[in-house]
Amino acid sequence: MPCRSCDIQEPSGEHNGANQYYENARSNREFLCARNEAIVELLRKVEHRGFTIERLELRMRGGGRLLAHNSERKFSKIQFTLLLCRICRECSLGDFAGIIAVMEFQLDQAKEILGRTPITLNSLLRDVPETWLHSNEGPETWSPFDVVGHLIHAEETD
C-alpha cells in the first residue's frame, strides 16, 4: 500500500522492540502503512534471531539503522534501506516499495574484507608477467610490487 506522507509520521520516542514500535505506531494514531509494517516485520525478524533491540534510528527518508545485541552482548548494527520507486524518488516524495536490511556484526563485516585482501591480491597478481608488477605512475609513486611490500610492513608494525 503506497503511502506518500509517512516520511513525516514516524512513531516518536524510543523504540525498544518490534511490538513497542508497532504499539507506538498505533497509539499515536499514525497510519500503519506498508512502510511501517515492513519495519515492524524487520524488527520481529531481528528479535526472532535472538537479538534485543537497543535503539532504532529512522532517517526521514530512505531507511535507518538498528542497534541490537544478542545474549552474549555481541552487538550488531543493522542498516536498512527502504526502497522507493524511481518515479517518486524523482519527485522526492517516495512511495514505499520494499525494504532491504543488512544485518551483520560490523566487526565481522570488517574481518570479511580483511581476510579477503590476501586472496584478492593473490588472484590479481600471482604469476602475472613481471611487467605488470614493476611499473608505477611516475616519480614517487608505487608499483604493485611496492604496494604488497607496504602492506606487509604495515601488518608488522602499524
Binding site: 580483511l114 611496492d146 602492506l151
Partner: protein
C-alpha cells in the same frame, strides 16, 4: 593495525603510536619475488586476524580511544575501519597502476576510461 590496536587497548590515551615508515618496504622487499611477498602477507594477515579475534572486542572496547600524533584522539573503531579502507585503497591503487600500463594502447577510448586519468 594490530600493534596500534594493542596500544589503544593497553595504554589508552597515554600511549602513542609508533610513527609509520612509508618507505621501509623498498629495503625490505629487495631481492624477494612477488610470490614470496604474497605468501608473507597472507601469513601475517592470518596472524593479525587471529589476534583480532583473541581481543574479544566489545562495543565498549571499540569506543576506547588512543592518541594519534597528528589527529589527536581516535577510537579503536576508527582504527579498524581505517584498516579496511587502507586495504581497499591499495587494491584500487594496484588496479589503477595496472590499467595505466595501457594508457596509450587504448587510443581514443581513453576518454571513456576514467581509471586512466585518476
Amino acid at each position: 593495525m594490530i600493534p596500534r590496536a594493542r596500544i589503544i587497548l593497553e595504554q589508552g590515551q597515554h600511549g602513542t603510536f609508533e610513527p609509520f615508515d612509508r618507505f621501509a618496504m623498498f629495503e625490505k622487499s629487495r631481492g624477494k619475488s612477488l610470490g614470496e611477498l604474497l605468501d608473507k602477507f597472507k601469513e601475517l594477515r592470518g596472524q593479525s586476524l587471529q589476534e583480532l579475534e583473541a581481543m574479544n572486542l566489545t562495543p565498549e572496547l571499540l569506543e576506547k580511544r588512543g592518541m594519534h600524533p597528528e589527529f589527536g584522539l581516535v577510537t579503536l573503531n576508527q582504527l579498524l575501519s581505517t584498516w579496511v579502507v587502507h586495504d581497499l585503497g591499495h587494491v584500487g591503487q594496484i588496479v589503477r597502476v595496472m590499467a595505466k600500463q595501457y594508457d596509450e594502447a587504448v587510443g581514443p577510448w581513453k576518454a571513456y576510461l576514467p581509471v586512466l586519468t585518476r
